[in-house]
Amino acid sequence: MLDGLLLLFEGYTLLYLLAGSVGGLVLGILPGLGPVFALAIFLPLTFGMTPVEALVFLGATYASCVFGGGITAILLNTPGTPGSIATTFDGYPMTQKGEGGKALGISTMSSFIGGIIGVLALAFLGPMLGEWSLKIGTAELFMLTLAGISLVAVTGRGDTKRGLIMGGLGLMLSFIGRDVITGTNRFTMNTYYLEEGIAFVPFVIGIFALSQALLLSDEKGSIAKASKVSGLLDGAKEVLKRPVTLIRSAIVGTVLGIMPGVGINVSNFVSYLVAKKFAKDPESFGKGSIDGLMAPEVANNATSTATLIPAFALGIPGGSSAAIFLGAMMIHGLRPGNAFFTDPMVPTLIWGFIFGQVAFLILGLVFANRVAKITLIPNSLLTPLVGLLAIIGAFSYRNQILDVMLMIIFAFIGYIMVKNKFPLPCMVLGVILGNMAESNFHRSVRISGGDLSLFFERPLAIILFIIVLLILFTSFIDVKKLISRYSK
């Protein structure tokens, strides 16, 4: 483990870590952009890096971005990311009471501790899950990817049918290109460009980054107005006086992070509600309660790292951010599962993730108030810059100009889809998992000599199949209503 720490100081890893932290903080503060945007726009920058540098850079970006979302939530009542909505409940009332600095200190320290607990969960639970993945065959792997695909129903909760339609669209897009088993070119329109399938990086940049810039361009003026604050260190000390809230919120955040399809958008709310339920003074919640501010901030940073556990250990991304991480891993030649956790670079990666939390702690305590001023940049100046980064990012993937066109097409599709409330993460999950599901299915069928009963002979495959059915069933049917109807 110590060797891993020493390796972190070699090459440019620490420099990339710092760059990721600063970039993530800036993009986290800007409302409407968020961690998925940050990861998508920064992904092309990793092509020249080593795998460990790339993952440390993206990890630092992600952690810092999730934290950054809380700064504007506290100072301006404008959550930078959907994971910071619950932060506004008590963070902004503190600012109104003139305790903005203290609130920022609480947010920074809470996010730091939450993030560290998330990284520890990744370090200890990840290898266990990875080792378990060795014991499963192609039939179970197929069922596992099927469970991953069925998560689109969870991701699109509230509109399950649309979620499944978008998941289906993503799967169909994943079939474009050369078939992994038979080598047949499918839906390539006889073009060489499509033989390798839809290029993931231009696709992600278009869907999440440029489309977001198009949405931002419709809003006039700048994002917000900033104000002066002080007293950050006092707030940071307050967090350490409340170990119970800290541990409870971190557990909530980690468990929800491991559960695919949940993510920071849900965990910050759940953690807030749990803290309120156990609070001695629940009436103070919503009026500037320290526990009320701590709970979502601890949870969302714990969740952000914990979401990587199923992605790294099983290759099942629970959401868009984890999907981009998985994409980055594959681009750098890394395979998820036990092979990943037995790679000698993992200790360095874990240290990198820990240092990523330290970086935003320092940045947060020293620069939070100053960085918040970037919300004053007018949208008319910001959107062309995002457009430029998106174009160069897509081009730098393979130095192919056609990738830029593909990115623009997906940006247009993404914009129209968002405007019409179609859940984009479902489509990304479909694209990521399509080929995995198909290749595992065909390998299983080949091993069993064409017999499909293989999927229903092995106990784990059956359990996973039941889970898939349960996910789909509970997504379509309001279980609570059903129970109450029958209990009557």
Partner: protein, 172 residues
């Protein structure tokens, strides 16, 4: 100019309320995937066919749900209009529609088309000078400074640090 603006607004409105159109597009895409997969070997065709049928089925289900909802909303709408309230269509017409997104998209497409023949440096500088101005930003000093700094930063990071061969165009 006014005509272009009003045309853009109409196009935007159509696309923003393109819910049904998008579902039709995905349905057509499913049919195309299903039909084309017949020419593949059975192993390569199985998954695309299964997924396209499933997606098509979900779209049909979505239309059925929406039809039921529409009937319900129409009944409520008639009741509300009778009470003197605005109908949903009238409310939709009043909704303000921005066209800046279309402008940004056009600028990005023009940038893409000129990137290879003209080259990274001139196209980027011109793009960053024109775009904020067209989007309504008027501080010339800030625009020029941003254009120069952003071009140099992108060149340094991508071109020098990550060795991305940025298109040289007329300078090549």
């Amino acid at each position: 100019m006014m005509r272009i603006k009003s045309l853009a607004k109409v196009a935007t409105k159509l696309l923003i309320d393109a819910d049904t159109f998008l579902l039709y597009c995905i349905a057509v895409f499913s049919v195309v995937i299903f039909a084309f997969s017949y020419s593949f070997p059975q192993e390569a065709a199985r998954f695309p066919q299964a997924v396209s049928v499933f997606t098509f089925f979900m779209i049909v289900l979505e239309f059925i749900t929406r039809y039921k909802k529409k009937k319900k909303i129409e009944a409520e709408d008639i009741a509300e209009t009778k009470e003197g309230k605005e109908s949903k269509d009238q409310q939709l017409e009043k909704k303000e529609v921005g066209i800046n997104w279309l402008l940004v998209l056009m600028l990005v497409i023009v940038y893409y088309l000129l990137l290879k023949p003209v080259g990274f440096y001139p196209v980027t500088i011109v793009y960053l000078l024109i775009s904020p101005w067209l989007l309504g930003y008027r501080n010339k000093k800030v625009i020029i400074l941003t254009a120069v700094i952003a071009t140099i930063t992108v060149w340094l990071i991508f071109g020098r640090f990550f060795y991305v061969p940025l298109p040289m165009g007329i300078f090549g």
